[in-house]
């Protein structure tokens, strides 16, 4: 077990020296594995992991859902979502910020990535909030926070990876994310109500709202239709998640051509972007598998589990301890690598805990609930200083807004997230109710 901790320390050192995460994990994992076993076994392990991961059927959802999101990004449906949400909420104080949150939630329902959600919505919502004189802090904060919903509301690339690590059913993980995602929308809106009550100057009341055009209606219908197609397809048993992703990508291509015309160059770029993002994710998955082979061989997950069980701690204390580790790691690590590094270590432990409630009595339920909790704590890391990636996405779209302004704007949402996380840990039913109906 001590070897694993040395491995983690060396890995963190390499990461801080800006070695790409994928190759740092692969290198430390391979060297560690070789030192504990031998080089021959290591070499064949590396070859097998690279080949098998590249050809993994269950991971073929990843490029397809990314492609779907990228097609929808160029289609302009995001504008329709924002216009519709504005029609609904725009008149209230802070209404445009609330509309940003709702539109982010809507876009998350057809996009599996938080960064893509934040990047897409910022282009639509930010100009509008600026025109109505909203404070930059509130405007950017609401988009950065709303964007985090991308990995919680299905489809979600992070949930797919979690499902792969823990061998959980992806369709159950997806459905488990819906209510916590909607809770996120509600809590973020409450956060806006509170801050605009305290400081009304952040958000002037918008008296004349922007029009909700026919094209916007089509955009909203397209998103709702696509989400229903995917969900009904998966839960009606018509197709597997992989097939849903393929059909979703095809449908989003049709939507994109219908709404924006056949823009060959943009569609080609969307394909290349998707391919590059896929290779980036697979490189991390391969590196993480090599690393976790080493950590598993060194006996960390089992050792940790038996150590914690021997201590006879309360299950919730252990979970809170894990959450604190995530909050700290989230300040320096990127979300996908954080999940790939930590979930293999924690999930055997979590399934052995005794939560003392009926609903968390079998390990399948525990793993689904833990997935939601881990994804929500990862969402928090996306807006935590100093490296919250969503904040940097906003910063990239709006280079004139200082980072400190965005982080200040994110703070109320960050606190709302902590409350939501606590609630989700305390009441597993939020995550498991829809699963139990399946």
């Amino acid at each position: 077990m001590a070897e694993s901790f040395i491995g983690f320390a060396v890995l963190l050192a390499l990461l801080f020296l800006r070695v790409p995460i994928a190759f740092a994990m692969a290198t430390v994992g391979a060297v560690g594995f070789a030192l504990m076993r031998d080089w021959n076994a290591t070499w064949s392990m590396v070859g097998n992991v690279a080949f098998d991961t590249g050809l993994s059927y269950s991971l073929s959802v990843v490029p397809l859902f990314i492609l779907m999101g990228n097609f929808l990004t160029i289609s302009g449906v995001s504008h329709g979502l924002y216009a519709a949400a504005n029609r609904l909420l725009g008149g209230a104080r802070g209404g445009l910020a609330m509309a940003s949150i709702v539109a982010c939630g809507g876009f998350s329902a057809v996009c599996g990535s938080s960064l893509a959600t934040a990047a897409t919505m910022s282009k639509v919502a930010m100009p509008s909030m600026r025109r109505y004189g909203y404070a930059d802090s509130l405007a950017t904060g609401s988009i950065a926070a709303g964007g985090t919903l991308g990995i919680l509301i299905p489809p979600s690339v992070v949930m797919i990876i979690y499902g792969l690590i823990t061998e959980s059913d992806i369709s159950k993980l997806f459905i488990a994310g819906i209510i916590p995602g909607l809770l996120g929308v509600v809590f973020y809106i409450l956060a806006i109500v509170v801050v605009t009550r305290i400081k009304p100057s952040l958000a002037p009341i918008a008296d004349k709202l922007e029009p909700f055009a026919a094209k916007d209606r089509i955009g909203v219908l397209a998103v709702v239709g696509l989400f229903l197609l995917i969900m009904v397809g998966i839960y009606g048993g018509f197709f597997t998640p992989t097939e849903a992703a393929g059909i979703g990508a095809a449908a989003s291509l049709v939507i994109s051509i219908f709404m924006g015309g056949f823009q060959a160059r943009k569609l080609f770029d969307a394909c290349i972007e998707s391919a590059r993002a896929t290779a980036m994710i697979f490189a991390i998955v391969i590196g993480a598998e090599i690393f976790s082979n080493f950590v598993n061989f060194a006996g960390l997950p089992d050792g940790l589990a038996s150590m914690i069980i021997d201590l006879e701690l309360n299950a919730y204390v252990v979970v809170i301890g894990i959450m604190v580790i995530y909050l700290v790691l989230g300040c320096v690590l990127e979300s996908l690598s954080m999940i790939l590094l930590t979930v293999p270590v924690f999930y055997p432990l979590v399934t052995q805990l005794d939560f003392g409630t009926e609903i968390l009595s079998d390990s399948e339920n525990i793993l689904i609930w833990f997935a939601v909790v881990v994804v929500v704590v990862t969402e928090i890391s996306l807006i935590s200083p100093p490296v919250g990636l969503n904040v940097f996405v906003l910063r990239n779209v709006l280079p004139d807004v200082p980072l400190t302004t965005i982080f200040r704007g994110v703070l109320p949402f960050w606190m709302a997230d902590l409350v939501r996380l606590t609630l989700l840990i305390a009441v597993p039913g939020f995550s498991l109710w829809l699963v139990s109906l399946m």
């Binding site: 990461l15 801080f16 020296l17 800006r18 070695v19 790409p20 995460i21 190759f23 692969a26 290198t27 391979a30 070499w43 064949s44 590396v46 070859g47 097998n48 690279a50 080949f51 590249g54 050809l55 993994s56 059927y57 490029p63 397809l64 492609l67 990004t73 990535s113 960064l115 893509a116 990047a119 897409t120 282009k123 018509f238 197709f239 992989t242 097939e243 393929g246 059909i247 095809a250 291509l253 770029d269 394909c271 290349i272 972007e273 391919a275 590059r276 993002a277 896929t278 290779a279 980036m280 697979f282 320096v332 690590l333 990127e334 690598s337 490296v387 940097f392 996405v393 910063r395 990239n396």
Partner: protein
Amino acid sequence: MTNHSTDTNQTNESSEASERYFARRLLHNALGIVCTCLLAGLVGLTVFDVIGRYWFNAPVSGAFELTQLMLGALIFAALPLTTEAGEHVEVDIFYEMVPVLIKRLMRILGACISAVALWIIAWRLAHHAAKLSSDGAVTDALSLPLAPIGWFGAGAAALSGVLAIAYLARFSLADEMLDLADPAAKTGIPRGND
């Protein structure tokens, strides 16, 4: 394609730079077309499989393994593109705080570890492919040989290793380029301007 804009300026300066630029465009377009075709294949295969199954009671035979093979080809074809664009995820929290000299050393370390890791993966994939080839390993339903995808992966990983070093060389051209840290570039999401 923000990364290429800097090269457009260099093309006027020397023919060597213009050749380099040409080679990169060629690589980008060739692999880009391969990736686009594979994505189209993955999407088309799924659609035909589902439509065939429900409306014509005739699913595409071997859809499962065709998906696997195309996915493998897609990952390996895209790996050089990702590496070339410097899109592998990095933690730059300390990088932002250190002087230029240390930044350069960190860049060199990162590129060397990436290249060596990629070359080792290439070597092992080639080894794996040779074994598959000598075993005559084929897929279950369609009896497609598995070795070519291993060879393709080995070649792509080796090329990516070269590109990791080339990326370093490109960045060393100008010190100010060291500060072009672009979080969006690392995440692979569509860029903001456009």
